[in-house]
Symmetry: C2
Subunit: 527 residues, 2 copies
C-alpha cells in the first residue's frame, strides 16, 4: 500500500493529499512490528489460538512467573510469559518478555492493554490452554510444555506455534518515511505518546512522537525494591510515618523523571499524579504480608486488617485519582517535588524541559484547585531552595462524566485538558473494562453495539461529552490546550474525530504513533 | 410548625400558599415515624452512637442473623437486627425487625438505604461496638449483650440505648392531613412510591402515593425457598435448563405482582425487570454451595467454579440490568409473562390495573428495542392464550450517563423515562456508593463537596444530564412521561428541581411521600 502510493506520486499520477487519503492507517501497524519469516511460518505447527491482543511476532522460552522472566532475561534468554491472566505485579516480567500469552481475558484485559502500551506481542484469552503454575507446565493441543520449552506467538492473528519460528524486523525507511513526512506536512494536530520510561520515550520519538501525553507514575512504584517503600507509605498509621516512607520514594521518582525528561529533550512531558487505588499496591499473599509486617514492625494481623480495609466493592469508582492526592496531600507534594527537582536538574545539564503536571480523576472544581495549590506551593519551595526556576503547567484528565459537564469551571484552573477516554467510556456506558468482555461479544452479535467502545471512540455518546468538554473548556479559556490519551488516541477514526474537534494533540502507545500521524493528516486533507 | 401554620391560616393571618411555603419539608419526617416516649428517653442509658441512618425509634430483642430474626418474629417477638454490615441476604431479617444496628457502613450503606426504603429505623456505622457472630454477643461501652437482651435505637439521632424504651406512634390526622390536602391542591407534579411488596404499597397509599414508580423484582427472589429456584436458574448450563428453573419462578412472581396490583388498585405500577448482577444471588459459603450442588446434581467444584466465574471486578459496571435481559432473553420473557398474567388475573377480579414495565440500565437504543420486542411478543402470546387484553407501557430507567446523552433516540421506543439518580450519580461522579464514604466525609470537611450527592441531587453535574435527558426525550416524544426514582425523589430540594424541570412525578420511599408532596407543592407556589 505504502509503496504503490509513493510510486504513483513519483510518477505524478496522484498528488500528496491523495497519497495520504489512500493510506489505510490501521494497516500500518503491520509495518511496525517484527513478523515471522514467511517460509518458516508456513511449516510451523499451530498448537493454540487466542485473541490477537497486541500485534507482532515473538519467539522465546516459556516462563510462568514475572520473577522467572527476569531471571531468564538476565541470562540473555528471550522468553514468552505464559499466565492465566496478568496483574500489575507482572509488569516487570512483561517488560522483559518478547511476548505474553494468557488463558483468560479479552482485548481489553490487563495483559492486552499493557502489551499494546509497551509494544509487546500478546495473545490473550487462549481458553483451551491449561496452565499449571505449580508444575510450571502448560498443556496445548494435548501436549504438555514445560518451562524453558520454545513457543512462538503471532499477536496479529492470535496463533500460538510450537518451537522457535524465526522473525524478521520491519523496514521503516524509504517509502514509509516519505509517507510520514507527508503526514507531518499536512497535519494540523500533534501526536504525543503514552510512555512511562525513557525506553518507551525513545521508541516513540523514533516513531515521530512530539511529546509525552501520558506518563503514568504508578508503574514506577512496582519496580524492584520500590514497592517496599510504597507499601510502607500505604500502611503508615499517620502523616509523619507516611512522610518518612515518601522521602524514600522521592529520589527514585526524581531519577525516573530525569530519565524521561532527557529522552524527550525539547518536548512536553505530561506526568500524571498517582492514580490507582492503594490496594493495588499492598500484598495479598500471606508470605508477602508477613514480610511487610516484619519490615514495618507491625503484627501480621494489623497488616492483614489494613490490607482488607483497603479493599473496595467497585475499585474503578473508589478511592483513587486525585481523591488520594486530596486525602493524602503529602503524596502530591512528594510527586510535585520530584517533578520540579528533576526538571531543574536536567535543565542544568542543558536539557530543554517542559513539564506538565496532570491531576487525574477530577470531577469537581475544588479538587483541582486544592491540588494546584499544593503543586504551586511545592514548586515555589523548590525554586527558593535552588535559586532557579523552570516553567511548568498544571492540567487535568477529563475522564469522569461530570468533569466534561462542568469543564467551564475546571478550565478556570487547568492549563490543559487530556480526555482519558478509557475511563470516560467506562463511566459513560457503565461498562467495567474488566467485566464487560462477558457480554460485549454477545452485544456485538446481537447488533447492540457495532464496535467495541474501548477500541473505537463512541461518537454518539462519549463523543458528546468530549465535544462538550472541549467547547466549555475553551469558552472559559480560549487557548486551552486539549488532547486525549488512552487507547483511542491511536485508533484512526477516533483520531480523526479529535482532529475535527480542533484538539491540539492525541497521545497513544509508541507503536501507534505513525498510525495516529497518518490519521491526523487525513483528517486535515479530508477537511 | 404544622400546627402554628394551620392556626394562622384559620385565623386568616396567612393564606394557603404561605402555609405551604412555611413548611420545612424535611422536618415532616419526624412526624411519620414512632418516637421514644420523652420521659422514658430522658432516663435511658446511651451505650453506643452511630449514624442516624433511617429515622424513627425502635426497641426489641437483639438478634444477629436474618434467620434468627425470622424465628423470633414468628414467635411474635420484636427484634433489633445487629450486624457488622448487611447484605441482600439479610433483607428478610431486616423486614421483620423493628430496627437495624450495624458496626460498619455510612449513610448510603446497604443497611441505611434498605432501611430508609422499607421505613425501618436504622443506626449504621457504630464503629465502637464489637460484634461477635460466633458467640452471638455484642459489646457496647464495655458491657457484653447477648442474643435476646433488649436494646433500643433512635434512628433520628444515631443513639443506642440499653434495655426497652417505650415508643409512641405519630398522629397523622388533623393539621397534618390539612397541610397534605393543601399540597395536593397546589402541586403540579405527582408523587409515586418505591415499593416492592403489597405491605409497602399500602403504607405508601396511606401516605398519599398516587402510584408505584419503582417496584424492584430482585428482592422477591430472596424470599424463602425462591432463592433455590433462582440459583438453579443461574447455574443452569443451558437455555432449556434455565427455562425449567424460570418456570418455577413464574407463579411466584405472578403472585407477587397480583398482590401489588391489588394494593394499588386504580394506580400505575412501574415494575423494573431484574437488575442486579447474578453473583448477588449465588451462595458464597461452603455449606450453601454444597446444598446447591446436591439440589442441581452438580459437583461442588462445578458449583464453586460457576460462582467464582460470576464474580466481577466492578459489579456496579458489570453484567447486570438489561444486559442480563438481553443475554438471557428467557428471563425477560418470564418476567413479562408474570406481569401480564397477573394484570389479567386481577383485572378479572375487578381491579383497575395500569402496569408499566421498566427496562433497567439502558444505554444504547437497541438494548431497549430488543427488550421491547420480547415484552410485546410475550404479551401478545398471553393475550391470545387468555382471549383478553390489558393495556401496558414499556419504558426505561435513565441511569447510565450515555442514556441521557442519547435520550432522543431512546424515546423512540420508550413510553416513559424514570431517572435512576442513584446510579446516575455513581457514574457521573465516578463514586461507588459503597466505597465513597471512605473519602466523602473528608471531601465535605475540605469543602470539595457541600452536600452528599447521594442525598441531595447534584444540580451542576448530574442535574445537567437529567435536564438534557428530559428535553431530548420530549423532543422526540412531546408527551413522554418522565419521573425519577431513588433516594432523591424524597429529598425536598431535589423534588423541587424535578418539578421545575416539568417532570410528571417523583417516586420515593413510602415514608418520604408526604415530604415529597409538600416539596412538589412548594415548587408550584414558589413558581
Amino acid at each position: 500500500m505504502v509503496k504503490i502510493a509513493m510510486d504513483l506520486l513519483k510518477e505524478g499520477k496522484i498528488d500528496e493529499k491523495t497519497v495520504l487519503r489512500r493510506m489505510e492507517a490501521e494497516k500500518l501497524d503491520e509495518l511496525l512490528h517484527p513478523v515471522f519469516d514467511p517460509s518458516a511460518a508456513k511449516t510451523a505447527k499451530v498448537v493454540a489460538k487466542g485473541l490477537p491482543a497486541s500485534p507482532g511476532a515473538a519467539t522465546g522460552h516459556i516462563v510462568f512467573f514475572a520473577d522467572d522472566a527476569e531471571e531468564w532475561a538476565k541470562r540473555n534468554k528471550k522468553v514468552i510469559l505464559v499466565r492465566l491472566e496478568t496483574s500489575p505485579e507482572d509488569l516487570r516480567g512483561m517488560t522483559v518478555a518478547q511476548g505474553i500469552l494468557t488463558a483468560r481475558g479479552g482485548m481489553t484485559s490487563h495483559a492486552a492493554v499493557v502489551a499494546r502500551g509497551i509494544g509487546k506481542c500478546c495473545v490473550s484469552g487462549a481458553g483451551d490452554i491449561l496452565v499449571d503454575y505449580r508444575a510450571k507446565t502448560v498443556e496445548m493441543s494435548g501436549k504438555v510444555y514445560k518451562e524453558g520449552d520454545y513457543i512462538s506467538l503471532n499477536g496479529s492473528t492470535g496463533e500460538v506455534y510450537e518451537g522457535l519460528v524465526p522473525t524478521v524486523m520491519p523496514d521503516m525507511s524509504g517509502d514509509f518515511a516519505a509517507v510520514m513526512k507527508l503526514a507531518d506536512k499536512y497535519t494540523k494536530m500533534d501526536v504525543y505518546t503514552n510512555a512511562d520510561s525513557p525506553r518507551d520515550a525513545r521508541v516513540a520519538r523514533k516513531f515521530g512522537a512530539h511529546g509525552i501525553g501520558l506518563c503514568r507514575t504508578e508503574h514506577m512504584f512496582f519496580e524492584g525494591d520500590r514497592i517496599k517503600a510504597m507499601r510502607e507509605m500505604i500502611i503508615a498509621p499517620d502523616e509523619p510515618s507516611r512522610r518518612i516512607a515518601l522521602a524514600k520514594l522521592l529520589p527514585l521518582q526524581r531519577g525516573d523523571f530525569e530519565g524521561i525528561f532527557e529522552a524527550m529533550d525539547g518536548y512536553e512531558v505530561t506526568i500524571r499524579l498517582l492514580d490507582p487505588p492503594l490496594h493495588e499496591f499492598v500484598p495479598h499473599q500471606l508470605a508477602t504480608q508477613k514480610e511487610l509486617a516484619e519490615q514495618v514492625g507491625m503484627t501480621l494481623d494489623e497488616v492483614k486488617q489494613i490490607c482488607s480495609n483497603l479493599e473496595e466493592f467497585n475499585p474503578m469508582l473508589g478511592h483513587r485519582g486525585c481523591r488520594l492526592g486530596n486525602t493524602y496531600p503529602e503524596i502530591t507534594e512528594m510527586q510535585a517535588r520530584a517533578i520540579i527537582e528533576a526538571a531543574l536538574n536536567v535543565q542544568e545539564r542543558g536539557v530543554t524541559v517542559h513539564p506538565k503536571i496532570m491531576v487525574p480523576l477530577v470531577g469537581v472544581l475544588k479538587e483541582i484547585e486544592l491540588q494546584a495549590e499544593i503543586i504551586n506551593r511545592t514548586a515555589q519551595q523548590v525554586f527558593a531552595e535552588r535559586g532557579k526556576t523552570v516553567a511548568y503547567k498544571i492540567g487535568t484528565m477529563i475522564e469522569v462524566p461530570r468533569a466534561a459537564l462542568v469543564a467551564d469551571q475546571i478550565a478556570k484552573v487547568a492549563d490543559f485538558f487530556s480526555f482519558g477516554t478509557n475511563d470516560l467510556t467506562q463511566m459513560t456506558f457503565g461498562y467495567s473494562r474488566d467485566d464487560a468482555p462477558k457480554f460485549l461479544g454477545f452485544y456485538k452479535k446481537l447488533g447492540i453495539i457495532k464496535t467495541d467502545p474501548f477500541a473505537v471512540l463512541d461518537r454518539e455518546g462519549v463523543g458528546q461529552l468530549v465535544e462538550m468538554g472541549t467547547l466549555k473548556g475553551r469558552q472559559t479559556k480560549p487557548d486551552l490546550n486539549v488532547g486525549i490519551c488512552g487507547e483511542h488516541g491511536g485508533e484512526p477514526s477516533s483520531v480523526k474525530f479529535c482532529a475535527r474537534l480542533g484538539m491540539n494533540y492525541v497521545s497513544c502507545s509508541p507503536y501507534r504513533v505513525p498510525i495516529a500521524r497518518v490519521a491526523a493528516a487525513q483528517a486535515a486533507v479530508e477537511g
